[in-house]
Symmetry: C2
Subunit: 377 residues, 2 copies
């Protein structure tokens, strides 16, 4: 009773224009540039890099990040942690609350073969993690997630958070790992002043919590948070000891709308992730249809953009079709022509595919599976 | 070199509240009601039912539909056709253009073991299908897709379409299958008059094309189209001989916004598809967070609704989180509580999951794999 595996859409050595579509294309030069660039930006800051695998869902990419100095990986789901640990990653932090006996038993089982840690934002979470750890005879680090300004998960910073940390520290099955303080909503605020202000608010929440921890004679081993849109502010804050960016390795159309201090698009990283698509119909002048709709490239953060094709616009996504428009006097796309799309949002777009097709100089150089694709449990 | 299979989130015999989440839940009573209801609505009309498997992606569900009288299945992608044929479905129509030598070779290979047909909206498509059929020494039916009003794919109705049909009919490797005339944009027009008018336009386009075919001494064997929002109008038109509804077996929040002649939500079918989710955090009064974000339940047609929980609202979807709000005086959701979501759009939501969890009377009765999940090639 098994589901079908989707075959890779390419063969190593093929030309890019021979790749079957829709395909998740990784420009290896840009991808490697991004990994190197982040390693350089973090080097010497004293802050650790723990990239978020919710973006790439791949132990191969995790290992490349770790080889360049990352201390491990973040994930959101136990299933993602399993895919990484089973793929050889030795240090995985579940930067999220996990609820359910079966899930926590799976988490605790991983603690026997890797360093894994997890978050809690209430006593009830701690009680459940403690029971799972006791059952598995392991001792696991638990981080207190504080609401760092996003208003989603996270306990109130300050005394309430510190009391939860004490509850963890007093357990014989748990250790207090530190504070999870991620403000997701700050990542896509367009102006740098807005992002800086949001992270200053997050850092204030961290400081208040560290003060409250000190009043309870508790030390905070790690403060972790930050994403691709804000990590430089977390580093500069002086309170974060670890950052969790995910998207930097790929980038997307939504991040490309973030602006720098000069009002220009932030250019720290390069676009390395694409969905390769094919023109499948040119039914009338001014219209062409691609074979990549929102089942292939998600639209939760807007429509995809066309890569280096200023004369074309992706104007509508249905399930399996993408409608292109172009000026009547522009050259019409050819039936069968391959076109690169820049995803609106990289994380969920990766989660639609089973394989990365790595390309360099117009050739397929590697195929990497995406074992945490669909790992939502 | 394989991707990881996602394990089923349930065990047969479990209670629904024991199912791991997020899970794609199928209420079997409602699902069977929908299959029966459609069979009744089509019976005696002389119009054939060929449900669209782009919705369910499952040979199990295809076989249940066929057992109730459906003549076969529609799909959008060759990979979906493979999943169905390999799962025992004997008659599959690719209601879409397919471009690419490798894809068409796979399509032609299926013609050796099943009745398969495909669409074209240009000479170039026909030439490519002809070459693939010749290579595989098969003869395959090709349908001419006309633009039935959606302005997506499809050749201009009338003479141009008829000439394309003649090109097909004259090939020794092809047969002219008929006309594909689907107006997707009509499915979710809210008022019945709007839907009826859109299908009247589509039927006119069909009539003009049939007239043009007759002038070329060509008979049109099949006129196929129609979806869950409009199929009754296609049946009433007198020109359609086959309908292609997909969503009727599941329904979703978007279809629930369609109105009947009395201005009430259309109630022909029942909601049978849900995403089961768990309350994973209750961080402050008025807020709770579910473990199902838009990686588990897509938001391309709006946010999911909560099933039979009028006191709660799903107000924001991030990748792995769903934010609930509720009135401060309402009872807060409990941590760990299971909540059914009605997907905004059933087709792409199914495509996020590897398994259907069939439930009846609060128990898991069956697990069905989704082999065409991710079959986008």
């Amino acid at each position: 009773m098994e589901t079908m595996l989707q075959r890779p859409p390419a063969i190593i050595g093929q030309r890019e224009d021979e790749v079957d579509t829709p395909a998740l294309l990784l420009d290896l030069d840009a991808f490697e540039y991004n990994l190197d660039r982040m390693a350089q930006l973090v080097a010497g800051t004293g802050v650790r890099l723990r990239p978020h695998a919710k973006t790439h869902k791949s132990p191969v990419i995790a290992q490349l990040q770790i080889a360049l100095g990352a201390v491990g990986q973040c994930v959101q789901k136990v299933g993602e942690a399993e895919a990484l640990v089973w793929g050889g990653v030795r240090d995985v932090f579940v930067s999220n609350e996990v609820v359910g006996t079966a899930k926590l038993a799976r988490f605790a089982a991983l603690a026997k073969i890797a360093n894994v840690a997890i978050c809690a934002d209430s006593d009830a979470h701690v009680v459940a993690i403690e029971a799972a750890a006791a059952d598995a005879t392991v001792r696991v680090p638990v981080y207190v997630e504080i609401d760092a300004g996003a208003g989603r998960c996270g306990i109130e910073p300050g005394e309430r958070a510190a009391l939860l940390a004490r509850r963890i520290a007093q357990s014989q099955h748990l250790t207090f790992g530190g504070l999870q303080a991620y403000n997701g909503s700050a990542q896509h605020q367009r102006r740098p002043q807005e992002r800086a202000a949001a992270i200053e608010t997050a850092a204030d929440a961290v400081r208040r919590t560290i003060d409250a921890l000190e009043r309870l004679d508790l030390r905070c081993p790690v403060v972790t948070g930050g994403g691709t849109g804000t990590f430089e502010y977390e580093i500069a804050s002086g309170v974060y000891t670890e950052i969790q960016p995910g998207s930097y390795c790929f980038m997307d159309a939504d991040y490309a709308r973030n602006l720098d201090a000069n009002g220009k698009p932030v250019s720290t990283f390069r676009q390395s992730l694409f969905v390769l698509s094919t023109v499948m119909s040119v039914p009338r002048a001014g219209t062409a249809v691609l074979d990549a709709g929102h089942k292939a490239v998600t639209i939760d953060s807007g429509l995809p953009l066309l890569w280096q094709r200023p004369e074309l616009a992706y104007v509508d996504a249905s399930d399996e079709h993408g409608a292109l428009s172009y000026a009547p006097d522009a050259q019409a796309p050819r039936l069968g022509e391959k076109i690169r799309l820049v995803p609106g949002h990289c994380d969920p777009t990766v989660d639609r595919h089973d394989w990365y097709v790595g390309v360099r100089n117009g050739r397929v150089e590697c195929l990497w599976p995406i074992p945490a694709r669909g790992a939502m449990h």
